[in-house]
Amino acid sequence: MAGKSGQTPLSRDGSIGPTWWEERKAAAWKKFQAMPMPRRNEEDWRFATIDAIQLGDFQPGQKGSTSAEALLKRSTASFPHTAKAVFSNDRLLHIEGGEELAKQGVVFESLAGALHKHPSLLEKHFMAHPVDLGAQKFAALHAAHASAGVLIYVPKNVDLKLPLVSFHWLDGNESAVFPHTLIVTGENAKVTVVDFLSSTEVGGKGLACGLNDLLVGPGAKVDYVCLQQWGSQVTSFELNSARVEKDGEARSLFVNLGAAYARQESRSTMMGSGARSEMLGLSVGNDRQEFDQRTLQCHDVPNTWSDLLYKNALDDRSKSIFKGLIRVAPGAAKTDAYQNNRNLLLNPEAEADSMPGLEILNDDVRCTHGATTGQIDQDQLFYLMARGIDPRTGAQLLAHGFFEEVIERLPEKKIGEAVRSAVAAKFAAMRSLPSQRVSRPEANREKESETLDVRALQGLSH
């Protein structure tokens, strides 16, 4: 679409919204076109394989090849939930549960529906806060195209015990989708939301550029889980922000299993005293997958808390980039922030790049971060092999254990179970493929060592 072919991808018929909405979209589209593609030497894109970002000729609103019935059948969550919306190529196939929830004053509407029923809510909160971790261009792209996804509003003191879920499908190989989730909560409200992002084909192509905003009111609690299982040739952006008011609590988990290149940006801003944000990440890479993760924990006011844990297990020649930052503003005394990135290399060809950062402008804080990269413990693997488990399965079992620390943090055990089985499914699929471990002939090693030295030095002059 955009850059390469020069054609206008958003040539969709029929405007769906009021004037302000269409005007915003037009402005966003202009912004997207005006902004240059990111470059590798930008700090926000350091180590990223920019060439892997394939905007291609993907078009929004393509007609898929899978029937609505078949997709609805596949759109099932393994845990009980009160509301569900299903989209395929950004078209709403089905939405349920909204009426029942409306009795409590809760809004669960597709964006299109919300434009007519709750325009003021949408006008006030829709992408009201800028994306600033690097993918500004793609946030503009999202704003220009967003039409699918849900608006969730939970009023004061309403505690929704059961989760609300959305399914977004990429169907066919020419599609672009722009899933949007906007969660607005009143004082002391509680809600759990799960998004499932999948392609109809395992090896599917496409472009996904999603965005979700969690607006956590005073004393409110928002749990958000995003299960990304796009097809293996998809270029994916998932831009997240959480803004937490006084005594509010946000918790987000991003499970990255699919896509060829998946850039995920996550920003938590603590807006009021006592605000808390827990940021979790879990990725399984194989083949040449690249997971590009950028996070920011923003402490602007005193007495706030944040805790980040991102774990990546990488097989074959897959790669993860983690760049995180804890930023403590001058006035933000009594900040308690933690940031932790752990990478497990399941293959010598896999790569983990880690850039955990701190910017602390106040002395009365507790801030720590850690980053480790290592391999499977050979003794543990040997133990499993001695019990007749092949090394690959053994390594995966140990990787499951590695992820437990993340999954256990989800308060809703049944959602944790769904995450576990998604990870298990990915591992099973990996087992059916030949391992891409290549042993390099000695002769080549010398040469490679030369070229790698050069790369290392370039890194130095960076």
Partner: protein, 473 residues
């Protein structure tokens, strides 16, 4: 401090009597301000450089002019460097002269508090062009020379020992490594050249100011140290006393080479005056089973950007960086380390401790690189930051690339402040708040300071006390 003034007066008279520091013949050797190819020719003529050096410098100048300032990641303060206003070559006689009366009082006070020998004070304050330490240290120099160690200035090195010098010069840090290494390559003068022959273990640490050389603390010094197979050397550069200078840009390049099984330790204590940009490139090349250790202590300057690195080129090579940075108000210490693993079973260790006082800013920036064809490499990085005042600032920006088999890296950082309970406890036992604070800060860096040679660690402790003054209450 009341007795300071009485102590300094005799100092002044002695120094003036001792040397009549004017070098009329050297005034010719002033390249003027600004940097062009003419400046380079001028430097080459003045220093009688061989042709290959002239060519090397000119190529470097081009690279320097082409490279942008790295402000996309580094401090924007770099934009305040006006490259055209500097003199890029001053021979010793042309150095601006200053009388003792012109030396600011706080510098004098610091000398006093640190217990710097009186003879050294005048030199450090820039009053004397030279510091005559020959008498004190000639015994060490003699002993070292007997072992076959070459310890000369970089100019003598490239003139008298081209066969060793040329082989390694510019190999560890290529000209185009960064803008400031290019600048140094174009206009370098001063610095040391050391060669330690096979199997020689130099017992005494060698110090830069053993040699009498006005160029020694030059603006653009260039140091090359080669420690041959199985040899050992400790080298010390700088001193804890504030180096008072009117020149505001210092850009050194230091290259270390440790051959098979060699051990090389390089200790720096930097305490430039607070108007100085200190932009230094330091890197070592560690061959098989060798060990390179940087001990780096940054206290002065307006902005320091320095990331000592080790390229671990041989199997089982080991690299280590121990870094202490102290940033007071108006200062930014942007320091760190780079570990480039390029052979199997190489290990590296980085320990960084920083202290931010007042509105000072301390930054750790690091790079650890383990490429995919390597096995059994390990890195450990620990960064601890201590913040003294509310407006103090600290940042941590590590970058870690890991691939390959059986490699492991771990990075940990923490930020803390001095605990109020500790201070309270010490105050109960009769210490003032300032003393208690100093004691805590000294405790914070104690593990690292212990690794310094004795006289350095004593001076460093006093210096921390001094810097902590006025930071509380």
């Amino acid at each position: 401090m009341s007795e300071t003034s009485t102590l300094e007066k005799p100092d002044l008279t002695i120094d003036q009597d001792q040397g009549n520091f004017s070098y009329p013949e050297d005034y010719a050797f002033d390249a003027g301000t600004g940097l062009t190819e003419k400046t380079i020719d001028y430097i080459c003529d003045a220093k009688e450089d061989p042709d290959w050096v002239r060519e090397f410098r000119k190529k470097a100048l081009k690279v320097f002019k082409e490279k942008p300032l790295p402000t996309h990641w580094a401090s924007k303060d770099l934009e305040n460097i006006h490259f055209d206003d500097f003199r890029y070559y001053l021979s010793k006689g042309a150095k601006p002269k200053r009388t003792w009366d012109e030396v600011p009082d706080d510098v004098k006070k610091t000398f006093e508090r640190l217990g710097i020998p009186e003879k050294e004070r005048a030199f450090l304050a820039g009053v004397e062009a030279q510091f005559d330490s020959e008498a004190a240290y000639s015994n060490i120099k003699k002993a070292v020379a007997e072992q076959g160690v070459i310890f000369v200035g970089s100019r003598e090195g490239l003139r008298d020992h081209p066969e060793i010098f040329k082989k390694w010069f510019g190999k560890v840090i290529p000209t185009a490594d960064n803008k400031f290494s290019a600048l140094n390559s174009a206009v370098f003068s001063g610095g040391s050249f050391i060669y330690v022959p096979k199997g020689v273990k130099v017992k005494h640490p060698l110090q830069a100011y053993f040699r009498i050389n006005a160029e020694n603390f030059g603006q653009f010094e260039r140091t090359l140290i080669i420690v041959d197979e199985g040899a050992e050397l400790t080298y010390m550069e700088g001193c804890t006393a504030p180096k008072f200078d009117s020149v505001t840009l210092h850009s050194a390049v230091v290259e270390l080479v440790a051959m098979k099984g060699a051990k090389l330790q390089y200790i720096t204590v930097q305490n430039w005056s607070p108007n100085v940009f200190n932009l230094v490139t330091k890197r070592g090349l560690a061959h098989e089973e060798s060990e390179i250790k940087w001990i780096d202590c940054n206290i002065g300057s307006r902005l320091t950007m320095k990331y000592p690195g080790v390229i671990l080129k041989g199997r089982k090579a080991r690299g280590e960086v121990l870094s202490i940075a102290l940033a007071n108000s108006g200062q930014h210490q942007d320091t760190g380390a780079k570990m480039i693993h390029a052979a199997d079973e190489t290990t590296s260790n980085i320990i960084s401790k920083s202290i931010s006082i007042g509105s000072g800013r301390a930054t750790y920036r690091g790079l650890v690189h383990i490429p995919r064809h390597l096995k059994g490499c390990k890195n450990n990085t620990e960064c601890d930051a201590l913040l003294i005042n509310t407006e103090s600032r600290t940042d941590t920006y590590p970058a870690i690339v890991t691939r390959g088999e059986g490699n492991s890296v771990q990075h940990e950082a923490s930020v803390s402040k001095v605990s109020a309970e500790q201070i309270f406890y010490m105050q109960q036992r009769g210490l003032t708040e300032g003393q208690a604070m100093s004691l805590s800060v000294n405790g914070f860096v104690n593990d690292l300071v212990r690794q310094f040679p004795m006289e350095y660690s004593v001076e460093l402790k006093r210096l921390i006390d001094l810097e902590m003054e006025g930071s509380v209450g």
